[in-house]
């Protein structure tokens, strides 16, 4: 699918020059205590450039989802610090974190992305409405057209296919123009064609409007849409790859023994 975003007002910042949008600084995360303690993250330090599409990869239990949760303010870190833009989110209260997510972060989850009681349009506008912001109608129309949902706006989630549901989720994330979009296995439940469509939007939104995206995935093909892949194993960043292709990603994964 070829998609074109018109440049958003103000133009896209150049990816390379800008400071990182999200930074993890020696982040550790421990669940439980004593003998039962599980070290999900062991001092991870990594930055995610603004206007870039970064994939986080790793075998099951490598800590990739935990890292994403900590970066997005869904979970708190045990040690270390996380900065989102100019905000130091470590030590923020639940309320502050909630407002931060509402105003600066977008989410696309693997499943159960949408509220069943709301129509597609209401779902897309939900974050804006939660923060009491007015939707920029032109921008909304543009996003909706790009994801091809114009004739599905009044449908409820149970009347949409899995791919359509994920496209609604992408539109929801994009419409609020967050500083970062976190995507957690966004194509995990989709067939390859629907998956390619969704990944296409994500990449286009980065290229053409400078959106920053961090995506957790275990699929080398999905990762190949990113600008950069960060590899995690046993709670530590072990490697990274720029301008990935499915083959290079797969090679790297094999070399990790995952």
């Amino acid at each position: 699918m070829t998609s074109t975003f018109a440049s958003p007002p103000g133009g896209a910042p150049s990816p390379a020059a800008a400071p990182p949008a999200v930074v993890a600084d020696r982040v550790s995360k421990v669940y439980g205590s004593g003998d039962a303690a599980v070290h999900a993250l062991r001092g991870v330090s990594v930055g995610f450039a603004q206007g870039a599409f970064t994939a986080i990869m790793g075998p099951s239990g490598s800590g990739k989802s935990t890292l994403m949760h900590c970066l997005a303010g869904l979970d708190t870190v045990s040690e270390g610090a996380v900065r989102l833009g100019d905000a130091e989110i470590t030590g923020m209260s639940d309320k502050q974190l909630t407002l931060l997510r509402r105003d600066r972060v977008g989410f696309v989850f693997q499943a159960f992305n949408l509220l069943p009681t709301l129509t597609a349009e209401q779902n897309i506008l939900l974050p804006l409405q939660l923060s009491g912001r007015k939707a920029d109608r032109a921008w909304f129309d543009q996003v909706v057209d790009v994801v091809g949902l114009r004739d599905r706006l009044s449908h409820r989630p149970n009347e949409l296919s899995g791919g359509q549901q994920q496209r609604v989720a992408c539109a929801r994330a994009l419409v609020a123009r967050p500083q970062v979009i976190f995507a957690d296995e966004p194509t995990g439940n989709l067939d390859s064609r629907a998956g390619a469509e969704v990944l296409g939007f994500l990449r286009a939104s980065v290229r053409e409007m400078g959106q920053t995206i961090v995506m957790v995935t275990h699929d080398p093909v999905a990762a190949s849409y990113a600008d950069r892949v960060v590899f995690l194993r046993d709670g530590v960043v072990v490697n990274e790859l720029l301008q990935p292709t499915p083959d290079t990603v797969l090679d790297r994964l094999k070399s990790l023994g995952g």
Binding site: L74, K95, L99, F109, F112, N113, L115, S131, R156, N158
Partner: protein, 839 residues
Amino acid sequence: MLRTTLAGLRAHKLRLLLTAVAITLGVGFIAGTFVLTDSMDSGVQQTFARGADKVDYAVRPSATASEDIPAALVGRIRSLPGVKDVHGQVKGDAALVGRDGKTVGDMQTVGLSVPDGRLLRYDLDKGRVPRGSGEAVLDSRTAGRQHFSVGDAVSVLDSKGAAHRFTVVGLVDFGIDQDASMRGAVGFDPATAALMTGEKGVEEIDVIGSDRAAIAAAAGPKYEVYTGKRLGETLAKAAGADTKIIRTGLLIFGLVAMLVSALVIYNTFTILIAQRMREMALLRCVGATRRQVFGGVVAESAVVGLVGSVTGLLVGLGLGAGAMALFNALGANMPTAGVALTPRTVVVGLLVGIVVTVLSALLPARAATRVAPVAALRSDLEPGGGRFRLGWVRSVLTAVFAVGGLGAAFLGAVVMEKGESSMFMVAGAGGLMFLAVVTVMPALVRPLGRVAGAIPARLGGVPGRLAVENARRSPHRTATTTIALTIGVGLMSLFAVVGASAKVSSEHQLQQQFPVDFQVNNELNSESRPIPRALAEGLGKRPEFERVIEKKEKETGVAAPGASLGAEASQATVGMVSGDALGTVLKPEFTSGSAAALKPGTAVVGDLFAKDRGLATGATVQVRTPRGPVPVKIVGIYGGDLPLPDVLVPDTDFARHFGSPGPNAIYVKVKDGVSAASARTVVQDAARPYPTVKVASAAEIKEEFTDAIDMMLMIFGGLLGLAIIIALFGIANTLTLSVVERTRESALLRALGLTRRQLRRMLSVEALVMAVIGAFTGVVLGVGFGWAATGSMDDDAVFAVPYLQIVGFIALAAVAGVLAAVLPARRAAKASIVESLSV
């Protein structure tokens, strides 16, 4: 299978507890009723037994005879060999004059004989028993209210109305004598008691010594001789009839509470089964038969029922004891003999609790058996489709119930003759209409939810809108949850409407038909002691009054020609009102004939009297007078609940037949321009010299009636409050389970930026919408059937809606709904987003 069930219950203690609460409250109320009435019974029994123990034998009129025992028999028994002591109990009227110079209370106090020595059955609280003609004892509570104590001098009126002075020598607890505790009592020695009350006979002769045969021989066949023990039992049994009425009344409310509990249980189990679809399917996968799955759910409900009932019994014990303490603190003189938990209470409580729970779980259990094993493998069990289609079965049922209910209501309220049968018709109609609402409710939830949620959706922002959607998404569930509330609120509004209508009707009737400003009544409303004529004449001369109307009445025989005028059944009040008052000031509504037709030799009669005797206008009746029977032609029949005699004759006729006694009541209409306060002073000053004559203003009479109705509504409200509380637990329960179901949804919302407070508010609004739907439906039903009930009671009844109260009910329900959401909302808000997302 049982082991799986029990393990499941142990793992979900909170769920078990919430479900059991509904049963606990219902069983608690029923058990409490039994505990209270049993305790009252046993207290009464003990007290009677204690009193009767002091007596060897007691002579009482046999059940068929209603006359007193002649005093001569007391002497005859006294002279029997072996008799050590005898007391002939005297009981009559002896009006105590209070500190304000008026007789105490609304009814004159009871005069009793208080014997000295072993036969004294009452407890002396203070002082000693009275001896001689100058001493009296007072009922302790009457004395307390009037601030009389030992050593004070009091004035008591004898049966002729003459005042006598007595010195109070003691305060007595007359115990469970109903008359004494209701009216207050004065005690004298037996001889003085006979003089004061004017009673010729005695109620009972208590004896010490001798033997039963000798006493029975002396008493003769008209009287029965009891041993002390049997006397106690007989008296306690008679008093027990009162507790039976209380028990039945309370149990009706208990039944309502259990019905609401059943709905809550049914709903909870339905939701639980829906949520545990995968668990059930897994059980089926690993080889459980349908029967085993069914049995598992039923066993679970039995355990819940058992737990709920046992705690319910404990709650009932507390409630019963609390009610006893409360009643006694409020001044009711209830004998206490500890709290009684009888085996019957335990059996009934457990049985009702378990049976209701299991029955309520049967349908959900059947639904559980329908789960296909393959459902265990499906992952997308999206709860709440949001739509509800009224199938043809439900449509037909709704139509049948609604048409039947409305038809019956119309018949009862409009077509049928007013009376008991029309009221039963309306009650039946109410039941049918409720069934119609039950069947159609799931279809009403979405539109009603939109209405009830209109304001919160507009004001509550995104959380408000989501909440309203959530309340509407499972119509079936919301319907059952709200109907539980509908029952309580519906009955409350029904009572409120009937009460308000009764108030307005009576006010309206008095204003239209009996527009007097003051009523002067003689408390001792006996014919031998009418209001002194001087008072009536004095009032008639006052310039402040427009009209002073005298009413005279005489109890006498009235019957169709040929029938006996002496028979008990022919007794009726024949009376007059002065001059042309009938038709000018007193304007009862005539169902046939008119006031104008009242000429000498004729009469107008009350409709109840006419109906009772089968009389119509034009008929002639015989009226017994001191100068022989007189024929009177009926020229009119009037309705309404006015203080008028059965047979009203022209004043000249009345004087001819019965002479000119003083009036039994005086009605005063004040001239325009005279202030109420000054008119009142005039009437009161005129009545001051007569202790038994009491003045009541129309406003006071109205207020008394209003107060009585308000009191009744408050009691009903209190008793129905339980059903409403159970329904609120139902809301909390449904919400808790919905929260569990929507864990991921809530987590998603929180991830997208919904604050904890917003999430809590969302659930509160959802509960509010459910509560308002339930309350609104209840109010509509209650007001509708309040109208029908009012119409079925009386032709003259005016329908009134207490708008403020009704709006109050809905507002209260809304607030209570929000309260019900507090715990589920807190739980939902506490959940971790990351954990919930991965559920």
